[in-house]
């Protein structure tokens, strides 16, 4: 029982979703951290804002938990040196299956703006309006950068990518609606005063 708890440690914390997705990618095809990071962004879109050092750190953590293992492999033809390529272990498939069943933790992308709103003063209203507008523009840019589902023969992979894209689109649309509505409320309150 203790072993099972130990095995599930990698699933805890705010980066659990990224770790789970990385694990799924390793299971699909082994890769080095840069390759896995690129594949992650292609699948999830830019909203996840994950950096390469983060991908590397998360892979190392999962290696400590035994759900992936790395091996130093030569870089592709024409490049010198080696790099760590991550492979699945005998635990990986079961770990991914369990992760698929777990509830998704709520992680609002607007948390920074909510913190500002929570402590804002009356004189901060113009700055908040500007920050909200900037945030809305950022969400629109992220919507534009979300990769479209490739056209062609229908496949399970294309279906799942499309569902992911719709989820990202939906979240960003909600953020845009929230930013617009909040700006309207601030403006109306200021005008009525």
């Amino acid at each position: 029982m203790g072993g099972a708890v130990e095995e599930m440690k990698w699933m805890r914390g705010p980066s659990a979703s990224i770790r789970g997705a990385l694990l799924g990618l390793v299971l699909e095809r082994p890769g080095h951290s840069y390759d896995l990071g690129n594949r992650l962004v292609t699948r999830l879109g830019e909203t996840w804002r994950i950096s390469q050092p983060d991908v590397y750190r998360l892979l190392r953590q999962m290696e400590d938990s035994g759900v992936v293992q790395s091996s130093e492999e030569p870089k592709r033809a024409g490049l010198r040196g080696t790099h760590a390529v991550y492979f699945p272990t005998e635990l990986t498939e079961d770990a991914v299956a369990r992760w698929m069943e777990t509830l998704v933790p709520m992680a609002p992308v607007r948390v920074g703006l909510q913190a500002k709103l929570a402590v804002a003063r009356k004189q901060d209203a113009p700055r908040l309006l500007s920050a909200l507008k900037q945030y809305e523009r950022e969400c629109l840019e992220l919507l534009l950068s979300t990769p479209a589902t490739p056209e062609g023969t229908p496949s399970w992979k294309a279906l799942f990518m499309d569902c992911t894209r719709e989820a990202v689109d939906g979240q960003l649309k909600q953020e845009i609606a929230w930013a617009k509505h909040t700006r309207k409320r601030i403006r109306e309150y200021a005008a009525a005063e």
Binding site: A125, L143, L144, I176, A177, R183
Partner: protein
């Protein structure tokens, strides 16, 4: 060297409707520019003002205040001849739900007769209609009664009826209203590819992102405001002294 004016420009445009005793502000001092060749997406919920914005852009409705310019010329100061030319040729507003064939009208005539008598004989209009029906994949139904078409086929014919006028600016209102997701995706891909092929500036308004993927500029509309990925597009942000929708006194 003179700079080319934007194809379409909104300058401080407001549009207000009267709803009972209240003024409803649909567009609130909106400014933006659309340049030729750029695909622009407008994202907004139902009743967010998308359709109003498109109707004002097409010159079908006049703004309450502010100026709308097409190729640098104020729509309000255009001669009646130029304005008619604009509405019949240069700018096209299309909704896939615009389906109103006469009883017993054939598909080809539904497309051809939209050209009216504007510089085109019936024979020429039918020739042009047949060509454009081929481009939207409806050649095989050209001589069938229009009333026999499915919803997806109707949408393709509505697109043909719009493209046969060879507009330079195509405004599309909610192309996502299709019976299935695959049909929606196919129609949106067709719309984008035909606009690109014919060098038409495309503006698509939708509550879904799918028809807007691939846009060069994305705008969101709601509560009278517009926000854009294009920095030049802007709205006045300062709090107003009079609240939107205030009761008329």
């Amino acid at each position: 060297m003179a700079l080319t004016p934007p194809l379409l420009a909104f300058e401080d445009v407001s549009k207000t409707y009267v709803d009972g005793i209240r003024d409803v502000v649909v567009l609130d001092r909106v400014s933006f520019e659309i340049h030729a060749g750029v695909f622009v997406g407008i994202l907004g919920e139902r009743r967010s003002g998308k359709s109003t914005l498109l109707r004002v852009a097409a010159g079908i409705e006049a703004p309450t205040t502010g100026t709308v310019r097409f190729e640098g010329v104020n729509l309000a100061s255009m001669s009646s001849v130029r304005r008619e030319q604009l509405l019949r040729h240069d700018v096209a507003l299309m909704s896939v739900q615009d389906w109103s064939p006469n009883p017993n009208e054939s598909v080809i005539d539904y497309v051809a007769l939209s050209l009216g008598s504007y510089g085109s004989s019936l024979r020429d209009a039918r020739y042009r209609a047949r060509r454009v029906l081929a481009r939207v994949g409806m050649s095989s139904r050209a001589d069938d009664p229009a009333r026999s078409l499915s919803l997806v086929e109707q949408a393709r014919v509505v697109l043909a009826r719009t493209l046969v006028r060879e507009p330079s600016l195509l405004l599309v209102d909610e192309p996502a209203a299709m019976p299935s997701l695959s049909e929606r995706d196919e129609f949106c891909a067709l719309l984008r590819s035909l606009a690109a092929e014919q060098n038409i500036t495309l503006v698509v308004a939708s509550e879904e992102m799918t028809p807007l993927h691939g846009a060069g500029v994305l705008m969101s509309i709601g509560d009278g405001e517009l926000c854009s990925t294009d920095e030049q597009a802007s709205v006045v942000q300062l709090p107003r002294r009079r609240a939107a929708g205030a009761e008329r006194g």
